[in-house]
Assembly symmetry: C2
C-alpha cells in the first residue's frame, strides 16, 4: 500500500481544502431554513466520492433528510465488507458572538481548524472519505468492500435512519460498521470504544390538589406534590449511591477481574478529573472506581425537576403539581423497556398518600459491548498503533449512541468506534475545532485499517 | 344607641353608593401608573370621614404610598381606644377578560357587589368607616375613642407600614386593633380569628459541578445536585408528616384538651373539604385533625423547586445546580429566626458528599394568639351574635398576617380579626365580590362593638 500512503502524504492540502469546503455549508438539521444546505452537503460528499472513481455514490431520499449512500465492493465476496457510518448535519452555531471566527468560515489556528462540524462529524467523516479516495486514486485496489452511509439527521435524533436501515437491509449488508464520531482517550493517545451504555429516560408527574393552594391555609392539611416527589426521588438511591429499584441490578453484567484490571491500568488522575469539573469530591456507587462508575455501571440521574414558584423572592404556594425527568444509564444486559417497567412500578409503589403519580417513558437506548476479540477492533487497533506509535486503549463510554445498537439488531454486526476527536473539541459549543494532525493521522489509520482487515481474511 | 341603628337602617343605599365610588378608583399598588389613583382613594376616604364630622382626618405621607389617619377620641381617657386598620390598595385586575363586568365598575348581581377590592379590603374598611359615620351623624356620642390607619401598600407587603407605626407610636397608641380583612367561617356563620401562624421562608441552593455535564459521560461519577436536593428535602419530614429538624418542635405551644375540644366542635365536613380541592385523601402530621394541622400545628412545605432541563422531551443533562423554596408555618411560641437557624444547620448537616449547600432566609412572620378572654374579642363576638343571631366561632387561621404581630410588638396591643368576607369572594382573582347583606350586617356589628366595649368599661 506504499502508493496509497504516498498519495495521502502528497494530498494533505487537498484533503484540508475538501473538508473546509464541506465545513462552509451550514447544514444545520434542526433549522428548516437550512434545508437547501442539507441537500448541498449531501450532494457535495456524493460528488467527491464519484469524482474519485468510486463504483457507486448517490444521495438517497428518506422520510426526512437524505442520506449519502456509496459503495465500492470489488474486493470479492471472500473479503469483508465495511459499512462506514457518519453524519453530515451539524448543530446550530449560536451563540454566534462567542465564536472567535465565524462558525461557517473554517479558520486554521495553531494546527486546528475551527468551524461548526469540524470534529462532529464532518472532519471525522472525511477521514474515511479521503482514505477511500486515496485507495481509489493511488491506483491500488481497495482490499475490502466498502459502503458509506452518511446521514443528515444525527443531531436531531436520527428519526429517519432506523426505518431506512430496516428497509435497506440488503443494500447495507456488511460484516462490520466503522464509526468515527467519538474522541480519543487523550492527545496522542488513540483509543477504541468497545462499550456504550444504554438509556431509559423517564418523566414523572405528581398531581395533588386541583389548583395551587395557599400554603398558609392548606399547609399541613394535604400532601404537597413537591415534597412527595422529592421523597420518592430520595428513595431511588441509597446513601451509597446504590439504586433501590427492586430488580434493577438483576441482569447487570458484572465486571470481570480482568476488566477491572484494565480499568486500573488506564491513565487517570482523579485530582485533575475533579479540578476539571470543579468538585471537591466524586461520588457514586460504593465499591467501584470513578471510571468504572462512569462507564461500566448503571446509574440514575435526575435530569430536570420543576414545580411551584421559581421566580425571585417568595410566594407561599402549595403547588398543584410537580414533575421530574429521570434517566437511567444501562449496561449489558439490561433491557431499556424492562428497566422502564421496574421504574414505573417502584414509583407507584412508593407514592405517598394524597397524590397521584403518572410515569412516562421517553426515548431509550440499548447498551452495547463489542467482544474484544472481534477482528475489526484488532484491525483498527493495529492501524492506530502504526500511525501513533502507541498502543490504543480499549475503553467503554458512559453515554449512548443508539444507532450502534440498531446496527447490531438490524444488520447483525458489530461496530468499531474509532474516535479521532478530542474531549476539548467543543462540539455543540462555540469554537468547535478539530486537530488537523489527527485528521491526517486518521486518514492514514483508516487506509491501514482496510489493509489490516484484508490481511486477516487473506 | 337606637338612633345609630336607625341611621344605619335608613342609609343603606348611601353606604352602598359611597363604597361603590371608592371601588371605582383603580388603586392598584403594584403598578406605578396608578399612583394618582392611590392618592385619590386615600383622599376619598379622608374626605368621607371629614364630611361626617370626625374630629380629625388626614392623608399622611410615608416612605411609600400614603396612609389615611383619622381619629375621634372624645369618649374620655377612661374609655378604650380602638385602632381600626385596613387597606385601600387593591390587587391588579388582570386577566380582565375573565371578569363578567369590568373590575372597576362595581355591579350588583344577586345581592353581591362585584368589583376589585369589594371584599379585599375596601368593602370591609367601609364597614367601620360607615359605623363611625353612623355614630357621628346620628347625634349620639361615639362611646369609645376611635383611630383609623388605612394603608395603601398591603398588597405589596406593607413595606412602609412598620417604619410608620414605629415612628408614630404615640399617635397610634391604643388599647386594641380591629381588622376586618379575613373571612367568616361560612355564610351566616360569623367568626373571629384569634390565632395566626408565623412563617420562616427559606431558599436552598445546591451547587455541584462548575457546569452542566453530560449525564452519559459523568452519570454515576459525581453527585447530582438534583438528586442531592431531593434527598435533603425528603429528610425534612418523615412518613408521618413529622418535621425532622432537630429542635423544631421544642418551643411549640401544644394544643390544650379544651382547644382540641373546640376544634372538634367546629362544623366541618372532610369529604366536602377534599372535594373542594380535588384530593382523594388529606395528609399531614399524625395524631392531629385536618383543621388542627391547617392552623394550630407548624408545618413545612416546598413552595418551589427547579434545576436541569424542564422543557419538552428529554435532555441528558447532569445539572450544575438546583434550588428550592421551602417555607415553614410556625405556631406560638416558635421564633422565625430561631427556626430559620435550625433549618440552615440541619440542611448543612444532611448535605450529601460532593455538593455545596447554601441557605438563605426570605421574609418571615411571627405567630399570634390572642387570649380568648381578651375583652375586645368578647365585645366583637357579642356584637356579631346580636346581628347574626348565632354565636360566632373562634378560629385560628393557617396563614400569616405579619402586621398583627407588629401591632403586638410595637404598640403592645392585641388585634381583633373580625372578617366579614367569604372564602368564595375570589379575592386576588377575577369577579371578586362582597355580599351586601354582610356589608350592612358588618356596619351594625361594628357599631354595636363600640357600644359593647364602652359598657365593659363603664
Amino acid at each position: 500500500m506504499e502508493s496509497v500512503l504516498d498519495y495521502i502524504k502528497q494530498n494533505r492540502d487537498r484533503f484540508e481544502e475538501d473538508l473546509f469546503e464541506l465545513l462552509r455549508i451550514p447544514s444545520i438539521s434542526t433549522d428548516p431554513n437550512h434545508k437547501d444546505d442539507i441537500n448541498k452537503a449531501a450532494d457535495y460528499i456524493a460528488d467527491n466520492l464519484k469524482n474519485a472513481g468510486i463504483d457507486h455514490a448517490e444521495v438517497k431520499p428518506t422520510t426526512g433528510n437524505p442520506v449519502v449512500y456509496a459503495e465500492h465492493c470489488k474486493a470479492g465476496s471472500d473479503k469483508p465488507t465495511v459499512l462506514i457510518y457518519g453524519h453530515y448535519d451539524v448543530q446550530p452555531s449560536d451563540p454566534d458572538e462567542l465564536w472567535e471566527t465565524p462558525a461557517f468560515e473554517p479558520t486554521v489556528r495553531d494546527g486546528k481548524v475551527y468551524a461548526r462540524g469540524a470534529s462532529d462529524d464532518k472532519g471525522q467523516v472525511y477521514i474515511h472519505v479521503n482514505s477511500v479516495i486515496s485507495w481509489l486514486k493511488s491506483g491500488e485496489e481497495l482490499p475490502v468492500n466498502v459502503k458509506f452511509l452518511i446521514e443528515g439527521e444525527e443531531e436531531i435524533g436520527s428519526p429517519s435512519l432506523v426505518p431506512f436501515v430496516q428497509e435497506n437491509k440488503d443494500l447495507l449488508s456488511c460484516d462490520m460498521v466503522m464509526v468515527s464520531d467519538t474522541t480519543m482517550y487523550d492527545e496522542d493517545q488513540p483509543s477504541i470504544t468497545y462499550g456504550l451504555r444504554g438509556l431509559s429516560y423517564m418523566e414523572v408527574y405528581v398531581d395533588g390538589p386541583n389548583r395551587d393552594l395557599h400554603s398558609g391555609a392548606y399547609g399541613g392539611a394535604v400532601q404537597n406534590p413537591l415534597n412527595a416527589l422529592c421523597t420518592m426521588i430520595a428513595k431511588l438511591k441509597n446513601e451509597h449511591g446504590e439504586i433501590q429499584i427492586p430488580g434493577f441490578y438483576d441482569k447487570v453484567e458484572q465486571l470481570t477481574p480482568e476488566e477491572r484490571e484494565q480499568y486500573r491500568e488506564l491513565p487517570y488522575d482523579e485530582q485533575a478529573y475533579k479540578d476539571a469539573i470543579g468538585v471537591d469530591e466524586v461520588f457514586g456507587e460504593k465499591g467501584y472506581s470513578t471510571l468504572e462508575r462512569a462507564s461500566a455501571r448503571p446509574t440514575l440521574d435526575v435530569n430536570g425537576i420543576w414545580g411551584g414558584y421559581q421566580g425571585e423572592g417568595s410566594k407561599t404556594v402549595l403547588p398543584a403539581k410537580a414533575g421530574a425527568k429521570i434517566s437511567m444509564r444501562l449496561v449489558p444486559n439490561q433491557d431499556q423497556d424492562e428497566v422502564a417497567d421496574l421504574f414505573k412500578k417502584y414509583m407507584h409503589d412508593i407514592a405517598p398518600p394524597g397524590v397521584k403519580v403518572h410515569v412516562e417513558k421517553h426515548h431509550g437506548g440499548t447498551p452495547v459491548k463489542v467482544p474484544l476479540d472481534f477482528e475489526g477492533l484488532q484491525a483498527a487497533a493495529d492501524a492506530l498503533e502504526s500511525v501513533y506509535n502507541v498502543k490504543p486503549l480499549f475503553t467503554r463510554e458512559g453515554g449512548s449512541i443508539p444507532i450502534v445498537a440498531n446496527f447490531e439488531n438490524i444488520l447483525g454486526v458489530n461496530t468499531i468506534l474509532m474516535g479521532m476527536g478530542l474531549r476539548s473539541d467543543a462540539i455543540h459549543s462555540p469554537n468547535e475545532k478539530f486537530t488537523l494532525k489527527d485528521y491526517h493521522r486518521g486518514i492514514e489509520a483508516s487506509a491501514r485499517f482496510f489493509k489490516n482487515l484484508a490481511e486477516m481474511n487473506a
